[in-house]
Amino acid sequence: MLFKTKSFDDAPVVLSIEDLTVRLSGVNDTVRPVLDRISFQIRAGETVCLVGESGSGKSVTSLATMGLLPKGALEVSNGRIMLGETNLLSLSAGQMRDMRARNLSMVFQEPMTALNPVMRVGAQIEEVLDTHMRLSKKEKKARVLDIMEQVHLPDVERIYRSFPHQLSGGQRQRIMIAMALILEPKLLIADEPTTALDVTTQRQILSLIAELQEKHGTAVLFITHDMGVVAEIADTVQVMKHGELVERAPVETLLRNPQEDYTKSLLRAVPSLTPRPERVSKPPKGGPALSVEDLNKTYGSSGWFVNRSTTLAARDVSFDIPAGRTLGIVGESGSGKSTVARCIMRLIDPTEGSVRVAGTEIARLSRADLRPHRKHIQIVFQDPFRSLNPRWTVGRSLVEGPLNLGQDKASAMARARELMALVGLPEDAVDRYPHQFSGGQRQRIAIARAIAMEPDVLVADEAVSALDVSVQAQVLDLLDELQQKLGIAILFITHDLRVAAQICDEVIVMQKGRVVEHGKAGAVLADPQHPYTRSLIEAAPGRAWDFANFRELGALAAQ
């Protein structure tokens, strides 16, 4: 079975939102509302996925339902939120507090920040019980251990006594789910609960939510931007855009036969897991643009006085990238992929090994000797909001590198304007500040800043991970276009197999600091040899579906 197909027409309605309108506080009716007359229902046992790009109002919908809209910033101006027979909007703060956990509860994206770091997790779950009922100490503990068993935590007695930082990300999210479900609420709101997790952990959490839902008959409102996750978990999908509900349909109908143009464009932007066709043209002659040999990085090496335990963050990593080609490093968090990128950039010093950029060995150069060679290799970071100095105009950021190379300011500025056009932004963007741009635009600026140095190698460290899929596709296209125009080699670090499949010629799979598989993208993704690679590919959500073409993957081959 590809999708869930159960019908919920006979199930009782749990949540019914009618004409919900949310506005910015203190603005008049002429300003476009944040949520514009949203109406939908969720029935018992049903999973409704709310999808849309950032800013579409997904989270505002969930916060409004929980009564957690930021005071003084957003307010409900119209509509009803009915949970059973109760209109949640008419409740007092105290009544609403009583409703939460008992009747509706929420799981957030980042389990580390949602848990209290100085409290044992067992006590935190007990706190939920304390607020809502009187139980003896023994009963309380029994119930907590029971729910911890239900969310499949290992060694519950030990974890009961653990602090959040002693648990893994997946375990923390399980604790959050346990807290949310211990009072058996009718409605669970999950706001991007797996976005911060690795794919294999994500898969476990998704199946856990589905299992508990089955068991308790909970209605689930699942917020996500990941179409793969939608395909895995949804009964019904609702697409939001700019605070409006544009389409609602059962999952298979929506993915197979989307009606609205916006839904179609969302689905088309989902990168396919099918690797890009191999490039026919031969890479230009000459040595590789970047050559890494036996790179090792050990953290916490023995100090002068103490022999601390060491962590091998990267071990014997070797690869070459020819000019004009892209090599991807894929792996989960902690696999050492970013360590490799930072060693190559010499943002950290490699413990052993050789890094040759444009024919020069840079692994052992001193900081000062390295500076003239920096121009050959540039980096684009993950977080577009932090990779530009917020106090500087875009132009000033763009000319920083060229000025270091001794270019005069006027010509560097002229070049900056050209670069803006090259990455698809207006030329007058150079006079503006980073906060005036969206995430995708900022990533374009960061790419322009790197390109301004005319590098031989561009390192993209999760460069599209923080972006919406449609923006992601545009930035990937931009990188591809720049590569063809300028012939740069790209080292692309990502945890997302879909992205890797779209842009990489070759792929390296890393696990715990080691390279476990290395080969042509097509070969590695289509016919993985190492069990770890296989588990990664199997965990990729919605891998059997070709979102962009609204059909099963391989349907073309079958025809």
């Binding site: 943002l347 970071f381 977080d383 909001f385 990779s387 920083e400 270091n404 906060h435 140095m453």
Partner: protein, 295 residues
């Protein structure tokens, strides 16, 4: 949603600095009065030589310990010197020491803190030295410096500044430590910017807001310390009128003529209260996280 809010909150300190006067107006009474009092004291101190009725140093044996009169607005001290002239002239020395100590300790602390935050090896050495410096009581240091160099304005400023530097260094260092992990700083390294350039252009601006706040506190505490040192006889030479000196000399006659201590004491309290109030206001405006919850 949360992503969209980050840049705005990060920009807050900069924007806060720019719109400081505008925001001040909205803050209402307290800070406005404090600013007014401080401006009056500063103007009074700067133009003191133009309007004081008597030379604050002229001794007049016939006019000892007189009460307020037309000739002597606040009366005279034990040597027949005009108390009013002495108090306003004392403001000049006190304010100079306050501002001087703040500027010197912030400037030195900033330079040392930037280096210490960015270079690990330097950090280990500098911070141990700073720890040692913090262990020296400023009064003791002042007495030692005055004993070595004689009682001068500069020994006093040095004695007040030295123990303040480690505090500024720690503040700057902590800002640098957190900001240097920002991708935009790493990008600057990748672009081949030199260390001094990165320190000055990328990291330093982040320290300005907390330093403005810290500077006002140092200024207030320096004025107070100077008064204490002068009172103990370890400060500026006794001929120069400072608030501390005037109070020290008036101590003996406190029972006969309390105004000798009351007026300089009142000026000192008003001055320090205003500076601290303004410091709190600046902190609230520049660093919204520390602001007390309203209502």
């Amino acid at each position: 949603m949360s992503d969209a809010m980050t840049p705005a909150s990060r920009l807050q300190p900069v924007l806060g600095l720019l719109s400081l006067p505008g925001q001040m107006r909205r803050l209402g009474g307290g800070p406005m009065i404090a600013a007014l009092v401080l401006v009056l004291i500063v103007i009074a101190a700067i133009f003191a030589p133009l309007y004081i009725p008597h030379d604050p140093l002229t001794i007049n044996a016939t006019q000892r310990l007189k009460g307020p009169s037309e000739m002597f607005p606040l009366g005279t001290d034990a040597f027949g010197r005009d108390l009013f002239s002495r108090v306003v002239m004392g403001a000049r020395v006190s304010l100079f020491i306050g501002v001087g100590a703040a500027v010197v300790s912030v400037a030195l602390g900033l330079a040392i803190g930037l280096v210490s935050g960015f270079f690990r090896l330097a950090d280990a050495i500098i911070m141990r030295f700073m720890d040692a410096l913090m262990a020296i009581p400023s009064i003791l240091l002042a007495i030692a410096l005055v004993a070595l160099n004689g009682p001068s304005l500069w020994s006093v400023i040095a004695a007040i500044t030295l123990p303040e530097i480690p505090r500024v260094v720690r503040l700057v260092r902590s800002v640098v430590l957190s900001v240097r992990e920002e991708p935009y700083v790493e990008a600057a390294i990748s672009l081949g910017s030199s260390m001094p350039k990165i320190l000055w252009q990328h990291l330093m601006p982040n320290t300005l807001a907390p330093l403005t706040v810290q500077g006002t506190y140092i200024c207030a505490s320096a004025i107070l310390t100077e008064a204490i040192l002068s009172f103990l006889g370890a400060g500026v030479s006794t001929e120069i009128p400072t608030w501390g000196n005037i109070m020290a000399e008036g101590r003996v006659y406190f029972q006969i003529k309390p105004s000798l201590i009351f007026w300089p004491g009142l000026m000192l309290s008003l001055c320090i209260l205003s500076i601290n109030l303004l410091g709190d206001t600046a902190r609230d405006l520049l660093d919204p996280r520390l602001r007390k919850r309203e209502g």
